[in-house]
Subunit: 263 residues, 2 copies
DNA sequence: GGGATGCGTTTTGCATCTAAAACATCCGCA
DNA sequence: TGCGGATGTTTTAGATGCAAAACGCATCCC
Protein backbone atom coordinates (compact mmCIF):
# COMPACT_ATOMS: atom_id res chain seq x y z
CA UNK A 1 0.00 0.00 0.00
CA UNK A 2 1.19 3.41 1.07
CA UNK A 3 1.13 4.92 -2.36
CA UNK A 4 2.22 8.08 -0.62
CA UNK A 5 5.92 8.49 0.10
CA UNK A 6 5.30 12.04 -1.16
CA UNK A 7 8.27 11.96 -3.46
CA UNK A 8 8.08 15.52 -4.54
CA UNK A 9 7.86 18.88 -2.89
CA UNK A 10 5.09 19.62 -5.38
CA UNK A 11 2.70 17.16 -3.89
CA UNK A 12 -0.57 18.41 -2.44
CA UNK A 13 -1.18 15.90 0.34
CA UNK A 14 -4.65 17.14 1.09
CA UNK A 15 -5.69 16.34 -2.45
CA UNK A 16 -4.07 12.94 -2.45
CA UNK A 17 -5.69 11.99 0.81
CA UNK A 18 -9.08 13.29 -0.19
CA UNK A 19 -9.03 11.20 -3.33
CA UNK A 20 -7.99 8.20 -1.31
CA UNK A 21 -11.02 8.78 0.91
CA UNK A 22 -13.20 8.63 -2.19
CA UNK A 23 -11.54 5.45 -3.41
CA UNK A 24 -11.80 3.79 -0.02
CA UNK A 25 -15.47 4.70 0.23
CA UNK A 26 -15.92 3.42 -3.30
CA UNK A 27 -14.32 0.11 -2.47
CA UNK A 28 -16.19 -0.30 0.79
CA UNK A 29 -19.27 -2.47 0.81
CA UNK A 30 -20.90 -0.45 3.56
CA UNK A 31 -21.03 3.17 4.64
CA UNK A 32 -18.02 4.10 6.77
CA UNK A 33 -17.71 6.28 9.83
CA UNK A 34 -15.11 8.95 10.29
CA UNK A 35 -13.07 6.66 12.50
CA UNK A 36 -13.31 3.81 9.99
CA UNK A 37 -11.85 6.09 7.36
CA UNK A 38 -9.11 7.37 9.65
CA UNK A 39 -8.12 3.83 10.57
CA UNK A 40 -8.14 2.61 7.00
CA UNK A 41 -5.94 5.49 5.93
CA UNK A 42 -3.75 5.38 9.01
CA UNK A 43 -4.51 9.00 9.61
CA UNK A 44 -5.48 11.02 12.64
CA UNK A 45 -9.19 11.45 13.15
CA UNK A 46 -8.83 15.18 13.06
CA UNK A 47 -7.32 15.08 9.61
CA UNK A 48 -9.92 12.65 8.38
CA UNK A 49 -12.53 14.97 9.82
CA UNK A 50 -11.30 17.84 7.68
CA UNK A 51 -11.23 15.74 4.53
CA UNK A 52 -14.72 14.41 5.15
CA UNK A 53 -15.95 17.90 5.96
CA UNK A 54 -14.66 19.21 2.65
CA UNK A 55 -15.89 16.30 0.56
CA UNK A 56 -19.31 16.41 2.15
CA UNK A 57 -19.61 20.13 1.62
CA UNK A 58 -18.80 19.65 -2.05
CA UNK A 59 -21.24 16.78 -2.51
CA UNK A 60 -18.66 14.12 -3.31
CA UNK A 61 -19.71 12.15 -0.27
CA UNK A 62 -22.95 12.20 1.68
CA UNK A 63 -24.21 10.98 4.99
CA UNK A 64 -25.73 7.52 4.81
CA UNK A 65 -28.98 6.64 6.51
CA UNK A 66 -27.17 5.82 9.69
CA UNK A 67 -25.88 9.01 11.30
CA UNK A 68 -22.18 9.77 11.04
CA UNK A 69 -21.49 7.29 8.30
CA UNK A 70 -20.69 8.22 4.74
CA UNK A 71 -20.98 6.93 1.20
CA UNK A 72 -20.04 8.34 -2.17
CA UNK A 73 -22.27 11.16 -3.39
CA UNK A 74 -23.81 11.62 -6.79
CA UNK A 75 -21.22 14.18 -7.81
CA UNK A 76 -18.54 11.54 -8.34
CA UNK A 77 -20.70 10.09 -11.08
CA UNK A 78 -20.25 13.22 -13.15
CA UNK A 79 -16.51 12.75 -13.08
CA UNK A 80 -16.56 9.16 -14.20
CA UNK A 81 -18.98 9.75 -17.01
CA UNK A 82 -17.37 12.92 -18.17
CA UNK A 83 -14.36 10.69 -18.74
CA UNK A 84 -16.40 8.15 -20.65
CA UNK A 85 -18.05 10.78 -22.81
CA UNK A 86 -14.81 12.25 -23.97
CA UNK A 87 -13.41 8.81 -24.65
CA UNK A 88 -12.51 8.27 -28.23
CA UNK A 89 -11.44 4.66 -28.21
CA UNK A 90 -9.33 5.27 -31.27
CA UNK A 91 -7.08 7.80 -29.61
CA UNK A 92 -6.69 5.61 -26.55
CA UNK A 93 -5.82 2.63 -28.66
CA UNK A 94 -3.49 4.42 -31.06
CA UNK A 95 -0.25 4.41 -29.04
CA UNK A 96 -0.82 0.82 -27.95
CA UNK A 97 -1.39 -0.34 -31.51
CA UNK A 98 1.71 1.49 -32.68
CA UNK A 99 3.76 -0.14 -29.93
CA UNK A 100 2.40 -3.57 -30.84
CA UNK A 101 3.23 -2.98 -34.50
CA UNK A 102 6.78 -1.98 -33.56
CA UNK A 103 7.19 -4.99 -31.30
CA UNK A 104 5.79 -7.62 -33.67
CA UNK A 105 6.75 -6.04 -36.97
CA UNK A 106 3.36 -6.78 -38.52
CA UNK A 107 0.33 -4.55 -39.11
CA UNK A 108 -2.08 -3.89 -36.24
CA UNK A 109 -5.75 -2.94 -36.44
CA UNK A 110 -8.61 -1.77 -34.23
CA UNK A 111 -12.19 -2.63 -35.13
CA UNK A 112 -15.69 -2.46 -33.66
CA UNK A 113 -19.05 -4.05 -34.37
CA UNK A 114 -21.39 -1.88 -36.45
CA UNK A 115 -24.69 -3.63 -37.05
CA UNK A 116 -23.71 -6.92 -38.67
CA UNK A 117 -20.36 -5.64 -39.86
CA UNK A 118 -16.86 -5.43 -38.52
CA UNK A 119 -15.82 -1.81 -38.96
CA UNK A 120 -12.10 -1.01 -39.07
CA UNK A 121 -11.39 2.13 -37.05
CA UNK A 122 -7.66 2.40 -37.49
CA UNK A 123 -4.54 0.58 -38.50
CA UNK A 124 -0.81 0.79 -38.03
CA UNK A 125 0.87 -0.70 -41.04
CA UNK A 126 3.95 -2.82 -40.87
CA UNK A 127 6.99 -0.80 -41.82
CA UNK A 128 8.23 -3.28 -44.35
CA UNK A 129 6.95 -5.77 -46.82
CA UNK A 130 3.34 -6.65 -47.36
CA UNK A 131 0.78 -3.96 -46.61
CA UNK A 132 -2.66 -5.02 -45.53
CA UNK A 133 -5.59 -3.86 -47.59
CA UNK A 134 -7.66 -3.50 -44.45
CA UNK A 135 -7.82 0.24 -44.01
CA UNK A 136 -9.86 2.50 -41.84
CA UNK A 137 -13.53 2.46 -42.72
CA UNK A 138 -13.43 -1.00 -44.29
CA UNK A 139 -16.36 -3.25 -43.44
CA UNK A 140 -16.53 -7.03 -43.51
CA UNK A 141 -19.30 -9.40 -42.46
CA UNK A 142 -18.91 -10.18 -38.78
CA UNK A 143 -20.17 -13.77 -38.96
CA UNK A 144 -17.51 -14.64 -41.52
CA UNK A 145 -14.52 -13.08 -39.78
CA UNK A 146 -12.32 -14.12 -36.89
CA UNK A 147 -12.47 -10.53 -35.72
CA UNK A 148 -16.24 -10.70 -35.87
CA UNK A 149 -16.22 -13.76 -33.61
CA UNK A 150 -14.15 -11.79 -31.09
CA UNK A 151 -16.58 -8.89 -31.21
CA UNK A 152 -19.56 -11.19 -30.63
CA UNK A 153 -17.92 -13.05 -27.77
CA UNK A 154 -19.57 -11.19 -24.90
CA UNK A 155 -23.08 -11.69 -26.26
CA UNK A 156 -25.22 -14.18 -24.39
CA UNK A 157 -27.41 -16.82 -26.01
CA UNK A 158 -30.36 -14.51 -26.58
CA UNK A 159 -28.25 -11.67 -27.90
CA UNK A 160 -26.44 -13.90 -30.34
CA UNK A 161 -29.76 -15.31 -31.49
CA UNK A 162 -31.00 -11.75 -32.03
CA UNK A 163 -27.85 -10.94 -33.97
CA UNK A 164 -28.40 -13.91 -36.26
CA UNK A 165 -32.08 -13.22 -36.75
CA UNK A 166 -32.73 -12.97 -40.46
CA UNK A 167 -29.02 -13.07 -41.21
CA UNK A 168 -27.99 -14.75 -44.43
CA UNK A 169 -24.78 -16.70 -43.92
CA UNK A 170 -23.37 -17.75 -47.23
CA UNK A 171 -20.07 -19.62 -47.07
CA UNK A 172 -17.19 -17.42 -48.16
CA UNK A 173 -14.39 -19.87 -47.47
CA UNK A 174 -14.19 -23.34 -46.00
CA UNK A 175 -13.83 -21.73 -42.57
CA UNK A 176 -17.06 -19.74 -42.71
CA UNK A 177 -19.76 -20.85 -40.26
CA UNK A 178 -23.01 -21.26 -42.18
CA UNK A 179 -25.45 -21.76 -39.33
CA UNK A 180 -26.19 -20.15 -35.98
CA UNK A 181 -24.93 -23.27 -34.23
CA UNK A 182 -21.63 -23.15 -36.08
CA UNK A 183 -21.23 -19.44 -35.36
CA UNK A 184 -21.98 -20.04 -31.71
CA UNK A 185 -19.29 -22.69 -31.58
CA UNK A 186 -16.76 -20.20 -32.97
CA UNK A 187 -17.81 -17.54 -30.52
CA UNK A 188 -17.69 -19.97 -27.60
CA UNK A 189 -14.19 -20.91 -28.66
CA UNK A 190 -13.11 -17.24 -28.47
CA UNK A 191 -14.69 -16.96 -25.06
CA UNK A 192 -12.75 -20.00 -23.88
CA UNK A 193 -9.41 -19.04 -25.42
CA UNK A 194 -9.55 -15.25 -25.13
CA UNK A 195 -8.16 -14.90 -28.65
CA UNK A 196 -8.31 -16.27 -32.18
CA UNK A 197 -5.37 -17.30 -34.30
CA UNK A 198 -6.25 -17.77 -37.92
CA UNK A 199 -4.18 -18.81 -40.88
CA UNK A 200 -5.53 -18.36 -44.34
CA UNK A 201 -9.08 -17.60 -43.22
CA UNK A 202 -9.40 -14.47 -45.28
CA UNK A 203 -6.67 -14.67 -47.82
CA UNK A 204 -4.40 -17.50 -48.79
CA UNK A 205 -0.97 -16.87 -47.35
CA UNK A 206 -2.20 -14.43 -44.69
CA UNK A 207 -2.38 -14.95 -40.91
CA UNK A 208 -3.89 -13.06 -38.00
CA UNK A 209 -4.25 -12.96 -34.22
CA UNK A 210 -7.37 -11.23 -32.85
CA UNK A 211 -8.19 -10.37 -29.20
CA UNK A 212 -11.30 -8.68 -27.71
CA UNK A 213 -11.15 -5.32 -25.91
CA UNK A 214 -13.54 -4.81 -23.00
CA UNK A 215 -15.02 -1.73 -21.31
CA UNK A 216 -15.65 -1.05 -17.64
CA UNK A 217 -18.65 -3.38 -17.63
CA UNK A 218 -16.68 -6.25 -19.10
CA UNK A 219 -18.55 -6.03 -22.40
CA UNK A 220 -16.53 -6.49 -25.58
CA UNK A 221 -16.48 -3.14 -27.35
CA UNK A 222 -13.67 -3.54 -29.82
CA UNK A 223 -11.08 -5.93 -31.17
CA UNK A 224 -7.32 -5.64 -31.58
CA UNK A 225 -5.71 -7.78 -34.22
CA UNK A 226 -2.41 -8.22 -35.95
CA UNK A 227 -2.23 -9.51 -39.46
CA UNK A 228 0.21 -9.99 -42.26
CA UNK A 229 1.50 -12.38 -44.86
CA UNK A 230 2.81 -15.71 -43.64
CA UNK A 231 6.24 -14.45 -44.56
CA UNK A 232 5.93 -11.78 -41.90
CA UNK A 233 5.34 -14.25 -39.07
CA UNK A 234 7.68 -16.55 -37.23
CA UNK A 235 5.30 -19.49 -36.78
CA UNK A 236 7.34 -21.10 -34.03
CA UNK A 237 6.48 -18.16 -31.79
CA UNK A 238 2.74 -17.77 -32.30
CA UNK A 239 1.84 -19.01 -28.82
CA UNK A 240 4.88 -17.66 -27.04
CA UNK A 241 5.11 -14.24 -28.64
CA UNK A 242 2.41 -13.01 -31.02
CA UNK A 243 -0.59 -14.17 -29.00
CA UNK A 244 0.62 -12.95 -25.59
CA UNK A 245 1.77 -9.62 -27.01
CA UNK A 246 -1.54 -9.02 -28.73
CA UNK A 247 -3.45 -10.00 -25.61
CA UNK A 248 -1.31 -7.71 -23.49
CA UNK A 249 -1.99 -4.85 -25.89
CA UNK A 250 -5.75 -5.46 -25.81
CA UNK A 251 -5.68 -5.65 -22.03
CA UNK A 252 -3.85 -2.33 -21.78
CA UNK A 253 -6.56 -0.70 -23.87
CA UNK A 254 -9.28 -2.41 -21.84
CA UNK A 255 -7.73 -1.11 -18.64
CA UNK A 256 -7.84 2.43 -19.95
CA UNK A 257 -11.51 1.91 -20.66
CA UNK A 258 -12.00 1.03 -17.02
CA UNK A 259 -12.01 -2.75 -17.36
CA UNK A 260 -11.13 -4.27 -14.03
CA UNK A 261 -11.56 -7.96 -14.76
CA UNK A 262 -8.95 -10.64 -15.43
CA UNK A 263 -6.67 -10.50 -18.42
CA UNK B 1 -18.57 31.06 -9.88
CA UNK B 2 -16.32 30.91 -6.88
CA UNK B 3 -17.99 28.07 -5.06
CA UNK B 4 -15.16 28.54 -2.61
CA UNK B 5 -15.65 31.24 0.02
CA UNK B 6 -13.97 28.71 2.31
CA UNK B 7 -16.61 29.09 4.98
CA UNK B 8 -14.98 26.92 7.54
CA UNK B 9 -11.59 26.59 9.09
CA UNK B 10 -11.93 22.87 8.43
CA UNK B 11 -11.76 23.23 4.70
CA UNK B 12 -8.92 21.53 2.86
CA UNK B 13 -8.33 23.94 -0.02
CA UNK B 14 -5.96 21.69 -1.88
CA UNK B 15 -8.63 19.02 -2.05
CA UNK B 16 -11.34 21.37 -3.14
CA UNK B 17 -9.21 22.84 -5.88
CA UNK B 18 -7.99 19.49 -7.08
CA UNK B 19 -11.54 18.24 -7.44
CA UNK B 20 -12.43 21.39 -9.33
CA UNK B 21 -9.57 20.65 -11.70
CA UNK B 22 -11.12 17.25 -12.35
CA UNK B 23 -14.55 18.73 -12.94
CA UNK B 24 -13.22 21.41 -15.24
CA UNK B 25 -11.31 18.83 -17.24
CA UNK B 26 -14.42 16.69 -17.33
CA UNK B 27 -16.52 19.54 -18.66
CA UNK B 28 -13.93 20.60 -21.20
CA UNK B 29 -14.35 19.39 -24.74
CA UNK B 30 -10.62 19.39 -25.39
CA UNK B 31 -7.49 18.67 -23.43
CA UNK B 32 -6.37 21.68 -21.38
CA UNK B 33 -2.95 23.05 -20.69
CA UNK B 34 -1.70 24.04 -17.27
CA UNK B 35 -2.32 27.69 -18.06
CA UNK B 36 -5.83 26.97 -19.32
CA UNK B 37 -6.63 25.34 -16.02
CA UNK B 38 -5.06 28.15 -14.00
CA UNK B 39 -7.03 30.74 -15.93
CA UNK B 40 -10.30 28.84 -15.65
CA UNK B 41 -9.85 28.49 -11.91
CA UNK B 42 -8.49 32.00 -11.41
CA UNK B 43 -5.50 30.49 -9.75
CA UNK B 44 -1.79 31.10 -10.02
CA UNK B 45 0.02 28.84 -12.46
CA UNK B 46 2.28 27.65 -9.73
CA UNK B 47 -0.63 26.39 -7.67
CA UNK B 48 -2.24 24.79 -10.67
CA UNK B 49 1.09 23.15 -11.37
CA UNK B 50 1.11 21.48 -7.98
CA UNK B 51 -2.46 20.23 -8.36
CA UNK B 52 -1.80 18.88 -11.83
CA UNK B 53 1.41 17.29 -10.63
CA UNK B 54 -0.42 15.45 -7.86
CA UNK B 55 -3.36 14.38 -10.00
CA UNK B 56 -1.12 13.15 -12.78
CA UNK B 57 1.04 11.19 -10.38
CA UNK B 58 -2.06 9.51 -9.03
CA UNK B 59 -3.47 8.70 -12.46
CA UNK B 60 -6.58 10.84 -12.18
CA UNK B 61 -5.45 12.90 -15.11
CA UNK B 62 -3.04 12.07 -17.89
CA UNK B 63 -1.16 13.87 -20.59
CA UNK B 64 -3.05 14.09 -23.85
CA UNK B 65 -1.43 13.41 -27.18
CA UNK B 66 -0.33 16.97 -27.45
CA UNK B 67 2.44 17.65 -24.97
CA UNK B 68 1.59 19.59 -21.84
CA UNK B 69 -2.14 19.21 -22.16
CA UNK B 70 -4.25 17.04 -19.91
CA UNK B 71 -7.45 15.03 -19.87
CA UNK B 72 -9.15 12.91 -17.25
CA UNK B 73 -7.44 9.60 -16.58
CA UNK B 74 -8.98 6.17 -16.30
CA UNK B 75 -8.87 6.21 -12.52
CA UNK B 76 -11.79 8.63 -12.22
CA UNK B 77 -14.00 6.06 -13.90
CA UNK B 78 -13.61 3.67 -11.00
CA UNK B 79 -15.08 6.27 -8.68
CA UNK B 80 -18.23 6.79 -10.71
CA UNK B 81 -18.64 3.10 -11.22
CA UNK B 82 -18.19 2.37 -7.53
CA UNK B 83 -20.96 4.84 -6.79
CA UNK B 84 -23.35 3.08 -9.16
CA UNK B 85 -22.54 -0.33 -7.74
CA UNK B 86 -23.27 0.85 -4.24
CA UNK B 87 -26.77 1.95 -5.11
CA UNK B 88 -28.86 -1.10 -4.34
CA UNK B 89 -31.59 0.05 -6.68
CA UNK B 90 -29.41 -0.29 -9.76
CA UNK B 91 -28.60 -3.92 -9.12
CA UNK B 92 -32.19 -4.70 -8.21
CA UNK B 93 -33.50 -3.02 -11.32
CA UNK B 94 -30.95 -4.34 -13.80
CA UNK B 95 -32.52 -7.72 -14.66
CA UNK B 96 -35.99 -6.22 -14.85
CA UNK B 97 -34.85 -3.50 -17.23
CA UNK B 98 -33.09 -6.04 -19.42
CA UNK B 99 -36.24 -8.19 -19.53
CA UNK B 100 -38.36 -5.17 -20.43
CA UNK B 101 -35.95 -4.26 -23.20
CA UNK B 102 -36.13 -7.79 -24.56
CA UNK B 103 -39.91 -7.83 -24.41
CA UNK B 104 -40.52 -4.42 -25.97
CA UNK B 105 -37.52 -4.21 -28.25
CA UNK B 106 -36.80 -0.60 -27.28
CA UNK B 107 -34.27 0.91 -24.89
CA UNK B 108 -35.02 0.97 -21.17
CA UNK B 109 -33.66 3.33 -18.53
CA UNK B 110 -33.60 3.84 -14.77
CA UNK B 111 -33.32 7.31 -13.30
CA UNK B 112 -33.57 9.11 -9.96
CA UNK B 113 -34.03 12.67 -8.77
CA UNK B 114 -30.80 14.45 -7.79
CA UNK B 115 -31.47 17.97 -6.65
CA UNK B 116 -33.32 19.57 -9.52
CA UNK B 117 -32.05 17.09 -12.08
CA UNK B 118 -33.10 13.75 -13.43
CA UNK B 119 -30.01 11.54 -13.16
CA UNK B 120 -29.79 8.48 -15.41
CA UNK B 121 -28.42 5.53 -13.48
CA UNK B 122 -28.44 2.84 -16.12
CA UNK B 123 -29.74 1.87 -19.50
CA UNK B 124 -30.33 -1.22 -21.59
CA UNK B 125 -30.07 -0.29 -25.22
CA UNK B 126 -32.29 -1.66 -27.91
CA UNK B 127 -30.47 -4.30 -29.91
CA UNK B 128 -31.20 -2.85 -33.26
CA UNK B 129 -31.53 0.47 -34.95
CA UNK B 130 -31.53 3.78 -33.15
CA UNK B 131 -29.44 4.10 -30.02
CA UNK B 132 -30.53 6.60 -27.42
CA UNK B 133 -28.14 9.33 -26.46
CA UNK B 134 -29.39 9.13 -22.89
CA UNK B 135 -26.59 7.30 -21.21
CA UNK B 136 -25.67 6.63 -17.64
CA UNK B 137 -24.68 9.74 -15.78
CA UNK B 138 -26.65 12.08 -18.01
CA UNK B 139 -28.61 14.82 -16.27
CA UNK B 140 -31.64 16.72 -17.50
CA UNK B 141 -33.82 19.33 -15.82
CA UNK B 142 -36.56 17.55 -13.90
CA UNK B 143 -39.25 20.21 -14.42
CA UNK B 144 -38.88 19.93 -18.20
CA UNK B 145 -38.96 16.15 -18.48
CA UNK B 146 -41.74 13.58 -18.38
CA UNK B 147 -39.44 11.45 -16.25
CA UNK B 148 -38.99 14.39 -13.92
CA UNK B 149 -42.76 14.64 -13.49
CA UNK B 150 -42.84 10.98 -12.51
CA UNK B 151 -40.07 11.48 -9.99
CA UNK B 152 -41.87 14.46 -8.44
CA UNK B 153 -45.20 12.69 -8.28
CA UNK B 154 -45.06 11.63 -4.66
CA UNK B 155 -44.21 15.11 -3.41
CA UNK B 156 -47.01 16.91 -1.58
CA UNK B 157 -47.98 20.53 -2.07
CA UNK B 158 -45.34 21.89 0.30
CA UNK B 159 -42.55 19.72 -1.05
CA UNK B 160 -43.31 20.65 -4.62
CA UNK B 161 -43.38 24.31 -3.64
CA UNK B 162 -40.00 23.87 -1.98
CA UNK B 163 -38.68 22.14 -5.08
CA UNK B 164 -39.77 25.06 -7.24
CA UNK B 165 -38.44 27.72 -4.87
CA UNK B 166 -36.09 29.91 -6.83
CA UNK B 167 -36.21 27.56 -9.81
CA UNK B 168 -35.96 29.18 -13.20
CA UNK B 169 -38.27 27.42 -15.63
CA UNK B 170 -37.50 28.54 -19.14
CA UNK B 171 -39.57 26.87 -21.83
CA UNK B 172 -37.54 24.28 -23.71
CA UNK B 173 -40.31 23.03 -25.96
CA UNK B 174 -43.99 23.75 -26.28
CA UNK B 175 -44.61 21.00 -23.73
CA UNK B 176 -42.47 22.55 -20.99
CA UNK B 177 -44.37 23.81 -17.96
CA UNK B 178 -43.22 27.35 -17.22
CA UNK B 179 -44.89 27.96 -13.87
CA UNK B 180 -45.33 26.09 -10.62
CA UNK B 181 -49.02 25.73 -11.34
CA UNK B 182 -48.37 24.15 -14.72
CA UNK B 183 -45.77 21.81 -13.25
CA UNK B 184 -48.19 20.82 -10.52
CA UNK B 185 -50.79 20.00 -13.14
CA UNK B 186 -48.34 17.69 -14.89
CA UNK B 187 -47.37 16.01 -11.67
CA UNK B 188 -51.00 15.58 -10.64
CA UNK B 189 -51.66 13.96 -13.98
CA UNK B 190 -48.92 11.41 -13.34
CA UNK B 191 -50.36 10.74 -9.91
CA UNK B 192 -53.76 10.08 -11.46
CA UNK B 193 -52.57 7.95 -14.38
CA UNK B 194 -49.62 6.17 -12.80
CA UNK B 195 -47.55 6.73 -15.94
CA UNK B 196 -46.65 9.23 -18.65
CA UNK B 197 -46.69 8.59 -22.37
CA UNK B 198 -44.89 11.27 -24.30
CA UNK B 199 -44.36 11.68 -27.99
CA UNK B 200 -41.89 14.21 -29.26
CA UNK B 201 -41.40 15.92 -25.88
CA UNK B 202 -37.64 15.74 -25.97
CA UNK B 203 -36.76 15.04 -29.53
CA UNK B 204 -38.86 15.14 -32.64
CA UNK B 205 -39.61 11.61 -33.72
CA UNK B 206 -38.92 10.10 -30.29
CA UNK B 207 -41.42 8.58 -27.88
CA UNK B 208 -41.32 7.40 -24.30
CA UNK B 209 -43.31 5.72 -21.53
CA UNK B 210 -42.29 6.55 -17.96
CA UNK B 211 -43.50 4.95 -14.72
CA UNK B 212 -42.55 5.75 -11.09
CA UNK B 213 -40.85 3.22 -8.82
CA UNK B 214 -41.77 3.31 -5.13
CA UNK B 215 -40.03 2.14 -1.99
CA UNK B 216 -41.47 0.48 1.10
CA UNK B 217 -42.97 3.77 2.27
CA UNK B 218 -44.73 4.37 -1.02
CA UNK B 219 -42.46 7.27 -1.86
CA UNK B 220 -41.31 7.58 -5.46
CA UNK B 221 -37.58 6.87 -5.48
CA UNK B 222 -36.88 6.20 -9.13
CA UNK B 223 -38.41 6.04 -12.57
CA UNK B 224 -38.43 3.33 -15.19
CA UNK B 225 -38.88 4.43 -18.76
CA UNK B 226 -38.72 3.04 -22.25
CA UNK B 227 -37.82 5.25 -25.15
CA UNK B 228 -36.96 5.06 -28.78
CA UNK B 229 -37.62 6.51 -32.18
CA UNK B 230 -41.21 6.48 -33.39
CA UNK B 231 -40.14 3.82 -35.84
CA UNK B 232 -39.38 1.47 -32.95
CA UNK B 233 -42.92 1.63 -31.53
CA UNK B 234 -46.14 0.03 -32.66
CA UNK B 235 -48.47 2.92 -31.82
CA UNK B 236 -51.59 0.78 -31.90
CA UNK B 237 -50.33 -1.04 -28.85
CA UNK B 238 -49.22 1.78 -26.57
CA UNK B 239 -52.08 1.30 -24.10
CA UNK B 240 -52.40 -2.44 -24.47
CA UNK B 241 -48.72 -3.39 -24.47
CA UNK B 242 -46.02 -0.78 -23.83
CA UNK B 243 -47.72 0.97 -20.91
CA UNK B 244 -48.79 -2.18 -19.03
CA UNK B 245 -45.42 -3.85 -19.59
CA UNK B 246 -43.54 -0.81 -18.32
CA UNK B 247 -45.86 -0.53 -15.34
CA UNK B 248 -45.42 -4.20 -14.56
CA UNK B 249 -41.65 -3.80 -14.70
CA UNK B 250 -41.72 -0.77 -12.38
CA UNK B 251 -44.02 -2.61 -10.01
CA UNK B 252 -41.69 -5.61 -9.85
CA UNK B 253 -38.84 -3.32 -8.88
CA UNK B 254 -41.04 -1.51 -6.35
CA UNK B 255 -42.02 -4.85 -4.82
CA UNK B 256 -38.37 -5.76 -4.41
CA UNK B 257 -37.88 -2.46 -2.61
CA UNK B 258 -40.62 -3.49 -0.21
CA UNK B 259 -43.50 -1.55 -1.72
CA UNK B 260 -46.76 -3.11 -0.61
CA UNK B 261 -49.27 -0.72 -2.15
CA UNK B 262 -51.41 -1.07 -5.25
CA UNK B 263 -49.88 -1.37 -8.69
C1' DG C 1 17.66 39.68 -35.34
C1' DG C 2 15.57 41.09 -31.17
C1' DG C 3 12.18 42.02 -28.07
C1' DA C 4 7.97 40.65 -26.61
C1' DT C 5 4.87 37.46 -25.18
C1' DG C 6 3.47 33.14 -23.12
C1' DC C 7 4.69 28.89 -21.30
C1' DG C 8 6.26 25.31 -17.63
C1' DT C 9 9.08 25.24 -13.71
C1' DT C 10 11.70 26.64 -9.48
C1' DT C 11 12.54 29.34 -5.51
C1' DT C 12 11.27 31.36 -1.01
C1' DG C 13 9.15 33.97 2.89
C1' DC C 14 4.89 34.25 4.86
C1' DA C 15 0.34 32.78 5.74
C1' DT C 16 -2.19 28.94 6.82
C1' DC C 17 -3.17 24.23 6.91
C1' DT C 18 -2.00 20.20 9.79
C1' DA C 19 -2.27 16.93 13.57
C1' DA C 20 -1.35 16.10 18.59
C1' DA C 21 -3.71 16.71 22.36
C1' DA C 22 -7.51 18.14 24.87
C1' DC C 23 -12.43 18.28 25.12
C1' DA C 24 -17.19 16.75 24.84
C1' DT C 25 -20.45 13.03 23.88
C1' DC C 26 -22.14 8.86 23.46
C1' DC C 27 -22.66 3.99 24.24
C1' DG C 28 -22.21 -0.54 26.49
C1' DC C 29 -21.79 -3.03 30.51
C1' DA C 30 -21.70 -4.54 35.25
C1' DT D 1 -25.47 4.44 38.34
C1' DG D 2 -20.78 4.96 37.17
C1' DC D 3 -16.93 3.61 34.81
C1' DG D 4 -14.18 2.72 30.34
C1' DG D 5 -13.56 3.22 25.92
C1' DA D 6 -14.72 4.85 21.48
C1' DT D 7 -16.47 8.56 18.83
C1' DG D 8 -16.97 13.42 16.81
C1' DT D 9 -15.22 18.09 17.55
C1' DT D 10 -12.24 22.06 18.91
C1' DT D 11 -7.98 24.13 20.03
C1' DT D 12 -3.30 25.56 19.01
C1' DA D 13 1.82 25.35 18.28
C1' DG D 14 4.44 24.56 14.59
C1' DA D 15 5.27 22.36 10.28
C1' DT D 16 4.30 23.14 5.44
C1' DG D 17 1.54 24.29 1.51
C1' DC D 18 0.80 28.61 -1.11
C1' DA D 19 1.53 32.12 -4.61
C1' DA D 20 4.45 36.16 -6.00
C1' DA D 21 8.33 36.68 -8.25
C1' DA D 22 12.03 35.02 -10.84
C1' DC D 23 13.90 31.89 -14.25
C1' DG D 24 14.78 29.53 -18.61
C1' DC D 25 12.92 28.36 -22.77
C1' DA D 26 10.22 28.33 -26.58
C1' DT D 27 7.53 30.81 -30.20
C1' DC D 28 6.01 34.72 -32.68
C1' DC D 29 6.19 38.93 -35.29
C1' DC D 30 7.73 43.29 -36.96
Amino acid sequence: MSESANHSIYFVPGLQRGLRVLEILGAAAEPMSLSDIAREMELSRSSAFRLVYTLRYMGFIKEAEQKNTFTLGARVLNLGFAYLNQLPITSIARPHLAALRDKTGVSTHLSVLEGHDVLYLGSHQARTGFVSNMVTGTRVDAYASAIGWCLLSSLDEAELAAFCEGLAMPAKTEHTPTSVAELRARVDQVRADGHVFSRGFHEPGGSSVAVPVRDHTGKVVACVNISGPDSGFDFDRIDTFYVPETRACALRISRELGYGGPG
